[in-house]
Amino acid sequence: MSSIPLAAPLHADSASPAVEMDPVEYTLRKRLPRKLPKRRNDVYVNMKTDFRAQLARCQKLLEGGGHREICVHGLGLAINRAINIALQLQASSQGALQLAANTSTVELVDDLEPEDPDEAGEPMTRTRNNSAIHIKVFYPDPQ
C-alpha cells in the first residue's frame, strides 16, 4: 500500500510549543474499506482501470455471463464512473435494462504512524466517512 508522509498538523510552527506531538511527522496510511460483498455479479468500479474495460466487463456479465442482474458499486470519486457505466449499459440495452440505485455511507479508517520513532509520537487512527453508491442493473421480470 502506498503511503505519503504527512506533517501531522500543518500549522506546526504557529501552534504553541506546549503541544508535544506537533513536530512529529506522521505517515498517513489509508486502510482499505472493510468487508465488501463479492458475488459473481458484483462489480467494483475504480478510477484506475480503463473505463471501457470496466464497461466491457459489465456487458460481458449481462450478455455472456447469463446474469439477470449485476450490482455496480462505486465509492467516493468512483461514484461518477459507476453511474456512467450503469447509464451506458441501460442506453445500450435500448430500454431493456433498469437501474435501481442505493446510496450508503462507508466508514474509512486512516492510520497515522509516526515517521520518526525517536520522536515518541503515538500511532493514531482517524475515521472518516465517504459516500458510496450501489446500482443494481437488471432486466425487469417479464410479468
Binding site: 503511503s3 498517513l28 455471463g65 470519486l77 437501474l99
Partner: protein, 277 residues
Amino acid sequence: MFTGCGVVTGQNQYLTRDAVRPHPGLEVNTPIQMENVVAPGTCAIYQGHTYSNAMQPAVVDVPDPLKPAPLAVPPPALKLGQDGFKKVCRTEEDSPCPFPGLASGVLEMRVKEGSKIRNLMGFAMARMQGEKCESGRDVSGGGLRQVVFSGSGRAVTKTITCAEIMKRKVGSLHQLTKLRYKVVKEVWESTEGSSSEMTVHRTVPSISILLSKDPLDPQEPGYQPPETLSALWEEKEGVESASQTACKRPLGPSPYSSFTHCKRVCLGEGVSVLPPH
C-alpha cells in the same frame, strides 16, 4: 461495441473522452454530444429534440466541419479549448421531474460543484425540521415532509453526501434514488475575431434523491427503506449465499484490490503536503 441507436452513438464519444481528460477548463468531463448543424443526421434523436427548443441563433460556422461519422467527433471536441473557442453560455435543458406524482411544494436542493455542504445542509435541515422553536419536540412534527437533492456531473458525489448526512441527522427517512443523463447545451464562440459560434450538446450523468418522512412505494426501483445507513454492505452479504449462481469465470480482481487503486488515486491527488522521501 454498443452502437445501437442514435442515443448510444452519441454517448460513445463519452468513452473516449473519459479516458483522455483533456482540459480541465470544461466544467464537466462528460461530453457526449457534439452537435453541429454542419453535420446533420449524426444523432437523429437528439437533433430533433434540440431544434425543437433551440432558442439560440445556433449559427454554426465552424472552420473544419465535422465528419458525419459520430466517432470522428471527439477529436474536434478535445481541441475546443485550444482552438480559440470560448464558452459563452451553458444551459441545462429542462428535464421532467424524475419523481412523477410528487407534490409541487417539495423543496428541491440543486447541488452544484462549488456548493458548500454546510450551506446546503444548514438550509435544508432548517426546512425539514421546521422552526427553531419547534425543534424541541418530535422532529417529524414540524417542517417539510419531503426534500429532493439533485446534482449532475462532478456534483453527484456531493449530492449523495448531502442526502446521507440528512438521513443520518433526521432519521427514518424513506429514500428514492434516480439516475439519468441530463442534456447540457453549451455555446462556444470563437475568440479569433470571426463571428463563428458553435453549439455543443453534452450529456452528463445526474442523480436525484428524494428523501421523505412519509412512506414511498417500495416496488419503485431505487427505493431504500429507512435505517439502512451502514447496514447495506452487511445486508448484501447475507443475500450473497442465496443468490449465488453458477460461476462461469474465475474471480476478477477482488474488491479489496479495486479499492486499493481507488485509494491510491485519492492519495496522489489529495495529500500534497510533503513530497515522499
